[in-house]
Symmetry: C2
Subunit: 340 residues, 2 copies
């Protein structure tokens, strides 16, 4: 059985979209052993549920948090001070207290990280959580982190990300000895910041991590390494640039298609190809990034996630919960001997 | 008349490719008033020229710099100390001495920037050069900088980039009052680093810059702003992620196409669309990024540029030289009152 705590007030599209996302997950997966704890203001949640015929109310328990919620504008430091009683705080606490297995939120990333770190606590030898995602590439898939949890990262933190990324590649992608690279502005040893230089030294001296050196932005889609390590600022911008570029290309293709009848016929014949490309790269389909390094599983869903996006984040949450992820990762991290 | 100084030893593909690039530019553009000063080791340059039938030798003057060259591995500090007499150094000096209008190099970016800054000198009120490029997006084109010249940037530098980007958007894209945004991990005012917060304050107080706030990675391809300002680390990673994503999508499309005969027929009908999408985003086609802020025009060509790429970088160099760019930009910068 998996219990999922959901922050119903998080995300740009609000309660209605989150309720629809839970419905969507249940309809798509027909799980008989997944239950939901919904945290938020009870009136809009009940109203949204009433509007959806056949909503699986029997799988859900609502926990009323009244008007208490964390806005997307809130600074993490303020969320830490005044976040008690909010939907996000209570959803995280539910998991910390072992009343649920995993927490999912589309709310404020910085606040989610700060609260999860304090309420759930960190795995030993990991100083700060990192957002991780599995990115498709020409050769398959790779693990990329941090994607936005930490705007500034020390060399030690980058080395910790390398260890956590290795664990994720082993557990989720089933790669026995994942290669790990540091994202930089060039592949030459002399390139980049002092922090990257220091991280390079730490990683090349860790015989338990399969470190392959620096890669650059073009290497992400090439699949040059199984694990891509970067700070949360560059990682976030890189990931979102990828999303934007994909949307732009599909837009260009659509515009060109509309210009000629021959092309319309051609594209009708190619529709499966276009749909396959679109789907394999659709950010909603890949929604749900674990906040890595915590003692429990916390899944960050995209702020702009729609019902389909939230359903996929819940799906990721359930996959992680079922993979016995935290004990596995803790064991792998111990074997990699990541010094703090 | 435009005189272009070319660092023939720069770039991963070497002298042969650079010689072919000059030939390609001349064949494509039939310029009657563009001349070249080639800096590098004379033997391989002459050998490469001898191998290309009809090379426009009458437009070129070779300046022998013997075995002196800067490798792509060299640190900028070493290039500054020991770079004298190298092909890159001499090509830059030629422009500084007004013997050519513009310098083009596919060599080591850090060294090129450091040498150009010292040899050519900076426009007043601009502390460091930035690499700039024009990026296509859904609504048209925008100017993005810095793309890799400065891995760490202060708030003041970011504000200077905003002013220089405004000037480029006015001169090159002919936009009267270009909107300017800072690239961040979210659009909310509270997001990002302390440096970005400070840059935000400087820019919102400059009434001469049309500052519109923070944008995120997905906004680059949306064309949310005419000018995108970021530090050279994130900018480089973002640009290269874009390149990599485009290559990945074209790869996916090719793979899917080969799977079915119907799709092959469809894609034959769509071939102009696919070619148009590919071409409009081909990094080689957009090769040639000016190093902005110098008293002369210096164009950085991609390290991996082939002959087609170098031809496009030369084309960009000639366009900038003909646009009376430096006097125009200096005048616009003065009107924008960028305090150091």
């Amino acid at each position: 059985m998996v219990r999922v705590a959901v922050d119903m007030m998080g995300g740009d599209l609000g309660v209605d979209s989150n309720v629809a996302g839970i419905q969507r997950f249940v309809l798509d997966n027909h799980p008989d052993d997944v239950f939901f704890d919904l945290f938020g203001k009870i009136t809009p949640i009940e109203a949204a549920i009433a509007n959806i015929p056949g909503f699986p109310s029997d799988l859900c328990t609502i926990h009323d948090t009244g008007d208490r919620m964390i806005s997307s504008e809130e600074r993490p430091s303020i969320a830490l001070k005044k976040g008690g009683g909010t939907s996000m705080f209570e959803a995280i606490s539910h998991v910390a207290l072992d009343r649920a297995d995993v927490v999912v939120s589309s709310g404020n990333t910085g606040a989610f990280m700060a609260l999860a770190k304090i309420i759930i606590g960190m795995i030993s030898n990991i100083s700060r959580p990192a957002l991780v995602s599995v990115i498709p590439n020409i050769r398959g898939r790779s693990v990329m982190l941090d994607l936005g949890a930490n705007t500034d990262c020390s060399a030690t933190q980058l080395a910790q990300f390398a260890a956590m990324g290795t664990a994720v590649a082993k557990i989720i992608l089933d790669i026995p000895n994942p290669s790990v690279a540091l994202l930089n502005i060039g592949t030459e040893r002399s390139k980049g910041t002092d922090t990257l230089d220091e991280a390079y030294k730490i990683l090349e001296n860790n015989v338990n991590i399969n470190f392959v050196g620096f890669i650059e932005g073009t290497d992400i889609s090439k699949g040059t390494s199984d694990v891509i390590v970067t700070d949360g600022f560059s990682g976030n911008i890189s990931l979102k640039t990828m999303e934007g570029t994909i949307r732009y290309l599909l837009h260009l293709a659509k515009e060109e298609i509309s210009k000629s009848l021959l092309c319309k016929i051609g594209c009708f014949l190619c529709r499966r190809m276009l749909a396959s490309v679109r789907d394999s790269l659709d950010p909603s389909r890949h929604n749900g990034a674990p906040l890595l390094g915590l003692k429990k599983i916390a899944i960050k869903s995209h702020g702009g996630a729609d019902a389909f996006g939230l359903a996929n984040a819940i799906s990721a949450a359930v996959t992680f919960a079922r993979s016995n992820f935290i004990p596995n990762m803790t064991e792998i991290l111990a074997s990699l001997k990541t010094a703090p």
